[in-house]
């Protein structure tokens, strides 16, 4: 197939029309986790969580596991409340800032490129190879190089986040735009719709579920890259704190940072799942 395009090579995240073979990353399951319903089910899930944590606490106490090997949950929780202001707030704000600035740049460029290759399909073969390369290469690898160029400030990490999240948004959005039913487009054209109207009224809403999944996956990649970059490149942020606390064997602090990172990730996931349910529920 000469016209083989990006869409066919990239995993599908939403079961709109599953693509065989998979690809660099397959997180399709992410978008389809069933939501707990009702007070009863939610409380069961919560209860199990508390049970697991409590069990962990007791196992650690019984086995006399030293603190430097595995911090006890109670100590982590205590540190989270006790030290949040002095130890964690500043790094969190920095990571959040890098993440959102990077995502904003990456996602806008990604979305714009997706629109471009949809309107000018001929450009696809020129742009796609670079997108594939960017998706498959860990952007953290660029950090040392970016730091040579942009120094120790936030810039290299923001760029890395943009490079990690943008292509994900682009690929998924382009796939969504491209999948738009040809008859729907024909229908629009038969009513005299302009290219812009086709985009606004048909292509964009049709692709919205895929775009949202692109944002979800892109932001998860972006967060990984932000934290990872801080671990390699120093200069503050949650990633930097992870390295710092573990090197000093302050495992309770380390655990607390880990919990914050995880919470951030889960919050992103929940947010996009919510947006997907709210604005793209028509597809189910």
């Amino acid at each position: 197939m000469a016209t083989d395009n990006l869409a066919e090579k990239i995993p599908d995240f939403n079961g709109v029309a599953p693509i065989q073979g998979g690809g660099p990353v397959d997180v399709s399951a992410l978008a389809s986790v069933r939501r707990a319903k009702g007070f009863k089910e939610i409380s069961k899930v919560l209860l199990l969580g508390i049970l697991v944590v409590t069990l962990l606490e007791f196992i650690l106490i019984w086995t006399k596991t030293p603190l430097y090997i595995f911090p006890r949950p109670t100590l982590v929780i205590k540190s989270l409340f006790h030290d949040f202001g002095p130890l964690y707030r500043q790094p969190l704000l920095q990571t959040v800032q890098e993440f959102f600035v990077g995502l904003a740049f990456g996602a806008s460029i990604g979305l714009a490129l997706a629109v471009l290759v949809t309107l000018k399909p001929g450009l696809d073969i020129f742009i796609s190879p670079y997108i594939i390369i960017m998706v498959t290469t860990p952007m953290i690898a660029l950090i040392p190089f970016l730091m040579l160029k942009f120094g120790f400030g936030m810039t290299p990490r923001v760029i890395a986040v943009a490079l990690a999240s943008g292509p994900m948004v682009m690929i998924n959005s382009a796939t969504g735009f491209r999948r738009t039913n040809a008859e729907l487009i024909a229908l629009g054209k038969s009513y005299g719709a302009t290219e812009f109207q086709l985009f606004r009224k048909i292509r964009f809403p049709f692709a919205l579920p895929m775009i949202i999944v692109g944002f979800m996956v892109g932001s998860i990649f972006g967060l990984l890259t932000a934290v990872g970059s801080e671990m390699v490149g120093g200069g503050g942020g949650l990633g930097n704190r992870l390295v710092y606390f573990s090197s000093l064997v302050r495992m309770a602090n380390f655990g607390a940072v880990l919990v914050i990172v995880a919470t951030f990730g889960v919050a992103l996931y929940s947010f996009f799942t919510f947006v997907n349910r709210k604005y793209a529920s028509w597809q189910v």
Binding site: A2, N181, E183, A186, K189, S190, G192, K201, I202, W282
Partner: protein, 261 residues
Amino acid sequence: MTQGTKSRIDIKNVSKIYKTGSGTVEAVKNFTESVKDGEFVCVVGASGCGKTTLLWCLSGLHPSTLGTVEIDGEILNAPMPGKIGMVFQDSNLLPWRTLMENIELPFQIKKKPINHELVEELLEVAGLKGFENSYPGELSGGMKQRGSIVRALAQDPEVLLMDEPFGALDAFTREEMNLFLLKVWAKTKKTIVFVTHSISEAIFLGDRIWVMSPRPGRLARVVDVDFARPRHIDLQFEPDFISILKEIRTEVEGSKAGKGN
């Protein structure tokens, strides 16, 4: 029939050649015919004989490779949003819009105010009153298809092009839809070109039937259907109906066998 004598659609020597990776496909060849104002023409033929291709040539969406199509004497080279409406096998209602919002879509595209009176009347005939705010996912297949016909007719086009609009429906719903379509047609006097796989559907609906033969897709035969209107659903059991059915069937089968399909 009571159609005018004026011809609405003139197809002159139309050929459509697709270029594919492995060469060219002559999907329609030297097609010449015309459709009178208010006439109901059905197109039948084996799968792949070029029915859809012909219809798209008539819509102005895919220009013909050779020959011309004229609508009211005007050469067609782009869609005519005011004049030609299309209905496909899939209802193609946008799933994120309610039925009413779907009907409003063409008005929004054309930046025209919605014709409430006509829409209400069409919804009434289509039995869709009370479902204006339903999403397509909440409607049955037949309702969706009626909805898409209402959407097309609400533009008050002179010509309605339909590509197997009832192909995906079960036999009973299909009969119901045929009756609905005839009722609407009797009311609105549109000119209709209706593509179908079903020969009996074509005979039941049409004034004339174009039988196409495949590879290349040509007009093999034109059959006049003179049954009085309004037509009753039991018409399909009349001997005259069945003899026309057999005739066309032989034609379609023969053209398939002859070409070694």
